[in-house]
Symmetry: C2
């Protein structure tokens, strides 16, 4: 009846991050922080978790002298997100 909800995605901030990353080639830390209205600490932790699960890839580079952390979604991440959304529908279709 009810399908399992991937705990990694069933989290407000991680879901928001994935929701952004699924519709964009890549997004940097500052952009994600703005869009999700999160604190840097929280975002940093959640990006780590998503990247540890290979749902996203995090790249660090420089723009001039400033560091830039860029994220993009992986195939695994995209599939997990799609599955999460499908499974979620078993809860909210009434």
């Amino acid at each position: 009846m009810f399908k399992e909800l991937d705990p990694l995605l069933h989290s407000q901030l991680r879901l928001a991050v994935m929701s952004i990353l699924i519709s964009v080639e890549s997004a940097d830390f500052v952009f994600l922080k703005q869009q999700t209205d999160s604190t840097a600490g929280n975002l940093s932790v959640q990006l780590d978790k998503l990247s540890a699960a290979d749902y996203i890839v995090v790249k660090k580079s420089f723009v001039g002298k400033k560091t830039r952390t860029t994220c993009h979604i992986t195939k695994t991440g995209r599939e997990a997100f799609e599955r999460y959304v499908e499974n979620l529908k078993t809860y909210i279709q009434h």
Copy 2:
């Protein structure tokens, strides 16, 4: 952009319970346990939380000599669920 997700509903088991209760007049403990495939302990705790928030009402009665715990959703609960679903759509519509 992303709407807040009611933490009380953003929980797999509580969401499943509310999902059932929104489409039925009432449901008893044993039925909810079966449908959600949860343990009695977990279900008991989560029903308490939903009822503490006035999202559901829990009634205890007897059927013969056996106790029966029956639950039904409240107006508050119904509204919270509808809002949760609407807010969730800001995350999954892509």
